[in-house]
Amino acid sequence: MTHKIECRHIAKVFIQKGKQRVHVLEDISLFVRDNEFLVILGPGQSGKSTLLRIIAGLETPSEGEVLLDGRPVSGPGPDRGLVFQSYMLFPWKTVLGNVELGPRLRGVPREERRRIAQHYIDLVGLRGFEKHYPHQLSGGMKQRVGIARAYANNPQVMLLDEPFGQLDAQTRYFMEKETARIWETEKRTVLFVTNNIDEAIFLGDRIVTLKGKLPGRMDRVWEVDLPRPREHTDMEFLKLRHTITECCELTL
């Protein structure tokens, strides 16, 4: 059986300042099942963002390949939606304009793309803010627009790159709940990158941990068998949190 996404022995080398070679990723092999929520957990500077950009097709791997439904990925495409850490909303477009961008680029007629955009704006809880510009929104709201924008393009796979890294703890917690809710309303295959262990356990079906320091390498894969909706204070939750923390700290 082919998986939704499969990474085969991916390595990435950047060339810095002319000659310096920086190994960012080494021998990453992983797969994501259909409609699975996979979290990639790793400390800062472990190359996890680069991995996501390679899967998105924005970077080409130096070695190995990425397969989507068994076919190799050669560049970015609307079948994969990316949510950026720094939101990357277009400041010159309203919330509606940002969300409907994907359908618009694909030539969806105006009425239809309005309907789609409105659906996802409602889904992320931004009804009433359609005419607002990004600078009028708080960080959490901005990222909701980012999520709605990716969803509105109807991708098969959602890639989220530390989407809540810039939010304060309370908003972050709230956005995690929202993400879980949105995902359960409209299931997609999700690849979620984070450096926050609570976030990883709260959201993921499985967690892939990366080793710290460059080059990023696979550490372990954890199954999270907790029922949803999850609670940060569950005994099981805390136990798993403890186990993963212990294990990761040992390798540091």
């Binding site: 950047f14 060339i15 810095q16 300042k17 002319g18 920086v22 960012v24 680069t50 950009r53």
Partner: protein, 264 residues
């Protein structure tokens, strides 16, 4: 993205194209004059300008001075005006940024004078100073002082308010905060003014000399026009351009050194 991928090699076309374009530019210029497409009374070929430059190195005629003298006079005026602009504009801007009283007094007068192009002052300057050195210095000073004041002012106003509050909780006086906090944090903006003010000074120097001068590169251009010698006009323009660019580079270098000194 935090990582930058270095392009392996520029395509050959991109390396050669700039040379090609410069050669074409000068070639076309030379050609249209030589072929008589543009009459020789209107434009001089680059080779003529070069020849005149060599000649003007030693020959003071017909405009009364060698090119060195013209350049030296212009440099003198520009630097006097520039230094005075820095010396007065930057402290004024810094004070205006921090002290409300200074701001209250200086701002309306500054706002009154700011939108008037320095060139418009030339007649008054001639009334007041005649056509000597100081009239021109005044025009150049006017051109340079405005960006100095604005940048220094904005630099101080952009000081992180949290740092100011922190200093206040340590009991620092207004003057201490100004000296140890506002001035250093305004420095990058102030350095930015060095270049802007220089460009402005240099432009206004030419303006001042076009209208009221008996020596200087601007005067060389004017004489070229009066005597209908296009090679002299072009020589003057090129000299102004080259010197402006050279001084700009020098200031750039100074700026880099100073900023490196601060960052250390």
């Amino acid at each position: 993205m935090a990582y930058e991928e270095v392009k392996v090699r520029k395509p050959l076309g991109l390396i050669l194209l700039p040379f090609f374009s410069v050669v074409c530019f000068f070639g076309a210029w030379e050609l249209i004059v030589r072929a008589g497409i543009v009459p020789a009374t209107m434009l001089a070929a680059p080779s003529d300008v070069g020849a005149l430059f060599v000649d003007k190195l030693t020959n003071p005629n017909p405009d009364g001075a060698t090119i060195f003298v013209h350049a030296w006079v212009s440099m003198q005026e520009a630097f006097l005006g520039y230094l005075l602009a820095l010396g007065i504009g930057i402290p004024l801007g810094l004070f205006m940024g921090w002290f409300g009283v200074v701001r209250g007094i200086a701002r309306p007068i500054f706002e009154l004078i700011r939108p008037i192009p320095p060139i418009a002052w030339i007649p008054l300057t001639v009334f007041w100073f005649g056509i000597g050195l100081w009239g021109k210095v005044f025009i150049i000073w006017l051109g340079g002082v405005v960006p100095c004041v604005i940048n220094a002012f904005v630099g101080v106003r952009m000081t992180n308010p949290t740092l100011i509050q922190m200093a206040r909780t340590y009991g620092a006086s207004d003057w201490q905060i100004f000296k140890t906090l506002c001035v250093p944090s305004a420095l990058p903006m102030v350095f930015g003014a060095l270049q802007i003010a220089l460009a402005s000074c240099w432009t206004n120097l030419v303006a001042a000399e076009l209208l009221a001068a008996d020596q200087g590169l601007g005067y060389l251009i004017t004489m070229g026009r009066r005597l209908a010698l296009p090679d002299m006009v072009v020589l003057g323009m090129v000299s102004v351009g080259v010197m402006g660019a050279l001084i700009g580079l020098a200031i750039d270098e100074v700026e880099k050194r100073l900023l490196a000194g601060i960052r250390r």
